[in-house]
């Protein structure tokens, strides 16, 4: 298979592909972490509320 446009600089394409992969996987992972922190804070708050109601 001949590459289209021989002599084409492959660096931008390789960087774009791996960059998008890093962004997507890293971004999703970061979102999970942020969501976990928020949920844990809500859990602590609701447990405190339960304790103080007694």
């Amino acid at each position: 298979m001949s590459p289209y446009g021989e002599g084409l600089n492959p660096i931008p394409y390789i960087s774009a592909a791996f960059g998008i992969a890093a962004l997507m996987l890293g971004g999703y992972g970061a979102w999970i972490v942020v969501q976990r922190k928020r949920l844990k804070a809500i859990k602590i708050a609701s447990q405190y509320r339960k304790e103080t109601r007694r």
């Binding site: 289209y4 394409y13 592909a17 791996f18 999703y28 992972g29 976990r36 809500i42």
Partner: protein, 228 residues
């Protein structure tokens, strides 16, 4: 606290594994004869594609377990798998498009595998929209599980029909029908390693997302109990 340290440790391990395999693919794997350096996109495109389709298989298992065991946790697994599957499907399409430009001269071609991946992305989107649009409860889990089974059963048929329709992708390079492989052994090892690591990363993300969904469900139950 202990378990959080474990999860942080596992996250760092995942990042390390991905960095190692990508470095392997980018620096140490030999250059391809015809495509040149741009072929290295294979080390992210093919593993992402494999994980996207593997997620459909895991969705099938989660859906069957949901219908048999009628546990809400199985339903949450299904949703997590669908989300992660969508991420990898979109990644496959993006990297496939980027690879297509220098290889085929166009950003998009109606190639069999890319087209099937596009349809799978739409199906994952539909699954997640359906899940979000239904009221929480056992009925939602049943409906989502039914759709998960339909999607998983339909994917091979979609793939076959689109393959017969047209194909521009190179023929399978890992294993040919006769059993031989056309890929260089060094490249094959690098590619298989990337695929294994990507599956592990996909499983890890699915698990972490499931934990969040389970925690959210637990908090919802708590709020019902506390409501006077």
């Amino acid at each position: 606290m202990e378990s959080e340290k474990l999860h942080v440790g596992m996250s760092l391990l995942m990042i390390g594994l991905v960095a190692l395999t990508w470095t392997w693919g980018l620096k140490w794997a030999p250059t391809e004869l015809h495509m040149g350096e741009v072929y290295r996109i294979i080390y992210v495109h093919v593993p992402a594609a494999f994980t996207a389709f593997f997620s459909a298989f895991i969705l099938l298992i989660a859906s069957i377990v949901t219908l048999i065991k009628k546990e809400s946790s199985a339903g949450l697994w299904g949703r997590s798998v669908a989300e992660v599957g969508l991420i990898f499907t979109v990644l496959t399409l993006a990297t496939g498009s980027i690879w297509g430009r220098p290889t085929w001269g166009v950003w998009w071609e109606w190639d069999a595998r890319l087209t099937t991946t596009l349809i799978l992305a739409l199906l994952y989107c539909g699954y997640l929209i359906l899940y979000s649009s239904l009221a929480a409860g056992p009925q939602r889990n049943k409906i989502a599980a039914t759709l998960g089974i339909i999607i998983a059963a339909d994917v091979p048929i979609i793939y076959k029909s689109v393959t017969w329709w047209r194909t521009l992708h190179q023929p399978p390079t890992l294993i040919r029908p006769g059993g031989e492989s056309t890929i260089d052994p060094e490249m094959r090892i690098a590619l298989v390693s990337c695929m294994v690591v990507m599956i592990i990363v996909g499983a890890f993300l699915t698990y972490q997302r499931y934990r969040n969904l389970a925690l959210a469900e637990e908090l919802e139950k708590l709020s019902y109990e506390q409501t006077p």
